[in-house]
């Protein structure tokens, strides 16, 4: 038994790809060792990465595979032996199996008597197996973008490979990949350590050897060191004791962790910028710092942006050295802020209103025309939705909404958005505010692209929500009208994200929007065929939302959606209610009974047994069916009241009380009675019961354990 270490050294891997590749390499190496019977039981493994390496250590690898006995099937016995004498066929088979002819036996198969031999497959050494198999695993690693680098294009990988380390205990394993043969030599930090080789004595010595060469191989250790350094440097830089904090940003911490090989208290610098830049909107400053410079923003104790930044280095230096680096970073940031200020001031020369005209020159989609055309369409959609919303008592400033729709896309013509595309919408909102538009208009413009993901916030105001829905619905309707629906993994216009956004807005705004998905689809286009397609698309996205964003069980979602999939908030309320009651014994029994009713109705249909148009009380002969009929009629009116109050939980509990009548019915009554009239009446009874109680969810969809 020995531990196995494998490291692949590369030129800098893109930060965004490292975590996935590290996990995949670990999975592939462990999988290979398991498949080849070189490890067993609960395998212990660890993996590491820096921008220049991926590595994995697996504990307890056996030195050699055990031999395995395998039964091999040979030629048919008739051919193999003539008059008890082995024919050439038998001899050849024995040779192939590696046994003597006398050791061959006969087995009976479905096709008759055949020769068989027990061949012993000798186990190979772990080193031999790894050297033979690991290169295939390496070649199989998924990269979002690959490259060739050697003449003849022998392999593709994310970046050129520069070294390999493979050690089984202290023995090197000659794994060959990309023109390198693995050894025991790795390399340290380019600048802090230099180009000289670092010899690794064995898997246990790997992390320590690298640490001496200024490389922290463990990603989590590096992450924590970076966080601590950010804390410490911020505190040290807060000379006035004004409670400065670096602004938490997990994505940025992650990125910097994957951009560095080393971290210490001396690898973060805090710099400042002139307070005059704080006159620029915080959104712009933070975007410049985070997205363009990978700097952390700093805030004061009230959460307000302070004129400082924090840069994480792939380096460490003494105070004098850090001063030089700080100075350089501050210089770059100042230039960036200057640019942003230039754009901001330049953009103010052409107010948003004057930019409406310019939208005619900005194409939204070649067959759908310009953004000016889109704005006109969205105006109609938004007006239609606004009418519905306000007629149902939900307050809305229709004039502000209309103004917001007209101006919504004008920021696409601004220099600031051309430079910082991720700020589209936000810049429009900021400009609207600066140019004296109402808060309702400005906020609606600002929030129009929300939510951009399942984790993102929804618009804060009713006007913003209507604008966001109308804009997205218009995009979907337009693309569907051109036959550009998403297919499989292809969704080039991000229509799924748009529809997910609509569902999420309807489900989550602070003030409930009284709109159904059907109404949204109908408002977006006059084309009936497109409306139908959109409704189906929305239903699919609603199901996705319930399962992925809300974590609801598959069967509950299916049951609830079968009872109506248009009113998102209602669907949500019904889903939560069903999830709460679904474990109850009576509810389970009733669900099972409903499923049975549905099956009986289906079978009857297949056999062309018609159900009566309505239930006739005088045709109910059995006490059990009378009891079910009477009790369900009583319950139905009570349930209907509770449903109308959206008190789904109480309604479901009430439905569950039908259990005794249901149980007795199925014990005592045979639905498929021989008399046609009775049978038709009973089928009608089942149909009515199902109909009365399926308004919250189709319980027959609920999966009942056992």
């Amino acid at each position: 038994m020995a531990d196995f270490l494998f490291e692949i050294g590369l030129e800098e891997i893109p930060a965004r790809m490292i975590a996935g590749a590290q996990a995949e390499l670990e999975k592939r190496v462990v999988g290979l060792l398991e498949r080849e019977r070189l490890v067993s039981g609960g395998v212990v493994s660890r993996s590491y990465s820096t921008p220049r390496r991926l590595a994995v250590v697996v504990e307890g690898v056996t030195a050699r595979q055990e031999d395995v006995a395998e039964e091999m099937l040979g030629p048919s016995a008739k051919i193999a032996f003539k008059d008890g004498v082995a024919t050439p066929a038998a001899v050849a088979f024995a040779k192939k199996a590696g046994v003597a002819v006398e050791e061959l036996k006969t087995v009976t198969t479905a096709k008759g008597e055949y020769l068989a031999a027990v061949a012993v497959k000798a186990g190979r050494s772990a080193a031999e197996v790894i050297a033979a198999e690991l290169p295939k695993e390496l070649a199989g690693i998924y990269w979002a973008k690959n490259m060739y680098w050697r003449a003849g294009r022998p392999e593709r990988f994310v970046r050129p490979v520069r070294w390999l380390v493979a050690l089984l205990g202290s023995e090197t394993v000659p794994v060959e990949f990309a023109g390198y043969v693995a050894g025991d030599v790795t390399y340290g930090h380019r600048v802090l350590f230099g180009e000289q080789p670092v010899v690794v004595e064995g898997p246990g010595a790997y992390v320590g050897a690298l640490e001496k060469a200024f490389v922290i191989a463990d990603v989590e250790v590096r992450r924590q060191k970076i966080r601590k350094a950010l804390d410490r440097v911020t505190r040290a830089g807060d000379a006035g004791g004004s409670g400065l904090r670096w602004r938490e940003d997990h994505g940025l911490v992650d990125k910097l962790t994957h951009l560095t090989e080393w971290a210490s208290d001396r690898s973060v610098v805090m710099g400042g910028f002139e307070a005059e830049y704080l006159e620029l909107p915080e959104e712009v400053l933070v975007t410049v710092m985070r997205d363009h410079q990978s700097y952390f923003a700093v805030e004061d104790k009230d959460g307000k942006l302070a004129p400082y930044f924090l840069a994480v280095l792939n380096m460490q230096a003494d105070e004098a050295g850090l001063a030089v680096i700080r100075h350089g970073n501050a210089r770059v940031l100042r230039a960036r802020f200057n640019d942003a200020r230039f754009f901001w001031e330049f953009d103010q020369r052409t107010p948003l209103k004057a930019r409406v005209e310019l939208l005619k020159n900005v194409t939204f989609q070649k067959d759908l025309g310009s953004y000016a055309a889109k704005a006109e369409r969205v105006r109609k959609v938004a007006a239609g939705l606004a009418g519905l919303v306000s007629s149902r008592g939900c307050g809305l400033d229709a004039a502000a909404l209309d103004e917001a729709v007209v101006l919504a896309k004008t920021d696409l013509t601004s220099e600031l958005v051309k430079e910082f595309t991720e700020l589209q919408g936000i810049v429009g909102g900021l400009y609207a505010r600066a140019q004296g538009f109402s808060a309702a208009t400005a906020d609606a413009i600002y929030d129009q692209y929300l939510p951009e993901s399942m984790e993102d916030a929804v618009p804060r105001t009713v006007e913003g929500a209507v604008l966001a829905i109308a804009d997205k619905a218009d995009t979907i309707a337009g693309m569907f009208g051109l036959g550009l629906e998403p297919t499989g993994s292809k969704d080039p216009f991000a229509l799924r994200r748009a529809a997910n956004g609509i569902v999420k807005i309807l489900a989550e705004t602070a003030v409930a929007l009284p709109l159904t998905l059907a109404e949204v689809a109908a408002a977006a286009t006059d084309d009936e065929a497109v409306v139908a397609k959109m409704r189906a698309f929305f239903a699919e996205r609603l199901e996705f939302y319930l399962r992925e964003a809300q974590g609801q069980a598959y069967d509950v979602v299916k049951a609830v959606l079968a009872a109506g999939a248009e009113d998102v908030r209602d669907v949500l309320a019904r889903t939560f209610a069903v999830t709460v009651v679904r474990g109850g014994g009576d509810f389970v029994a009733v669900s099972a009974a409903f499923k049975r009713m549905k099956n009986i109705l289906t079978q009857a249909k297949e056999k062309e047994f018609a159900a009566a148009e309505f239930v006739s009380a005088d045709l109910l002969t059995d006490d059990a069916e009378k009891a079910l009929w009477e009790r369900s009629a009583e319950l139905a009116s009570e349930v209907a009241v509770l449903r109308s109050e959206a008190n789904y939980h109480a309604a479901l509990e009430l439905i569950a009380t039908l259990r005794p009548q249901v149980d007795t019915f199925f014990d005592a009554v045979m639905v498929m009675a021989p008399e046609a009239e009775v049978r038709a009446n009973r089928l009608a009874l089942l149909r009515e019961v199902l109909g009365d109680f399926s308004g919250i969810a189709d319980f027959s969809e609920i999966v009942v354990a056992g």
Binding site: E11, E12, P14, A15, R16, P51, K145, M147, Y148, W149, R150, A151, G152, R153, R159, P160, R162, R190, V191, E195, L259, T260, Q293, Y295, A311, L313, N314, M315, A317, A320, G321, A323, V324, I325, H327, G328, N329, R331, V332, L333, R334, A335, N338, D339, F342, N361, V362, T363, K366, S370
Partner: protein, 314 residues
């Protein structure tokens, strides 16, 4: 104090160029002069765009003034230029130590890596009009992007084999960093040896920035630019048409067939397009169509160049 001390010994703009050229010449690069047709980037010079095609090894370096009319700011913005200078290094095939060589080149221009933070951040390059792309990094020095480092993968829509390493230094940025100035125009271009008088970047280039910005944004005659573009395009297409007769050409005619001339005409079209774009004369809808036209020329030339190379080699 340290910062000031560094500034004193910082290289002038022209010394920076000398040092980098010397450095790469010492590593086997042929020093070429800047290409004398307008290009938007050093990559578009035939010394890169065409030489990366085919199997022949290449090591070449050259400074390339690069014109991007839309980036002009009348000389008012301290960080943006209509025309900037790139130092382009082409290494085909890329040596194993290419990254280390690059880092040594930084040392050669006075950047002590032990005193700075250097990161290689993913940045892939593509020029769709040229059917060209590669993967690589932007090299960040104390937060400043100083170099684009690319492993060229495709050019003219053709897979490259061997591929090529391309290092593009942004000379103004590096000089600004070395000299610690906040405006490009304050960069010291040269120092007169006799008097010690400094000649600044602004003295040499500000007028160009002012006038070419005015030309590109305000004066360029849209109708005539379109005419130029159409004429250059027609002549380039004419040559591409004639190139279809390679098989019937004798060796001398084939060798003398002016693919390089066709490429210049394609570059002229590209520059006309950039001027029209800066002038605001190309709507987004038209844009796609015009880019497709230029792509036809550029990719067409690349294919003919490759075919000529094969045919001449026999």
């Amino acid at each position: 104090m340290q910062v000031i001390a560094e500034k004193k010994k910082a290289l002038t703009f022209q010394e920076l160029l000398f040092r980098l050229q010397r450095f790469w010449a010492d590593r086997g690069c042929v020093l070429q002069q800047p290409y004398d047709v307008e290009v938007g980037a050093g990559t578009m010079s035939p010394d890169t765009f065409l030489r990366v095609l085919g199997p022949k090894p290449v090591r070449i370096a050259y400074a390339q003034p690069s014109r991007r009319p839309a980036d002009g700011r009348y000389g008012e913005n301290p960080n943006r230029l209509f025309r900037h200078t790139q130092l382009q290094v082409i290494l085909k095939p890329p040596p194993v130590r290419i990254q280390e060589m690059y880092l040594e080149s930084l040392e050669a221009i006075g950047i002590d890596l032990k005193e700075h933070d250097i990161k290689f951040e993913e940045d892939n390059w593509e020029w769709p009009v040229g059917g060209a792309w590669g993967v690589g990094w932007q090299v960040m020095l104390d937060g400043l992007e100083i170099t684009q480092f690319t492993y060229f993968q495709q050019c003219g829509g053709m897979d490259l084999d061997p591929i090529c390493g391309e290092i593009t230094y942004g000379l103004e940025r590096i000089a600004g960093f070395l000299q610690d100035v906040d405006s490009i125009y304050d960069i010291v271009w040269a120092i007169e040896p006799d008097t010690g008088k400094q000649v600044t970047y602004g003295e040499i280039r500000l007028a160009e920035e002012e006038q070419y910005s005015a030309y590109g944004f305000d004066y360029a005659d849209v109708g005539k630019l379109w005419e130029h573009l159409n004429l250059y395009e027609a002549e380039c297409l004419g040559l591409l048409e004639k190139a279809k007769g390679f098989e019937e050409m004798d060796a001398l005619t084939l060798k003398r067939f002016p693919v390089l001339g066709a490429y210049e005409l394609a570059l002229k079209c590209s520059h006309m397009f950039n001027l029209l774009d800066a002038r605001g004369a190309i709507s987004v809808t038209e844009r796609v169509g015009v880019m497709a036209r230029i792509r036809t020329l550029v990719v067409g030339v690349a294919k003919v160049y490759a075919a000529q190379g094969v045919a001449v080699a026999g």
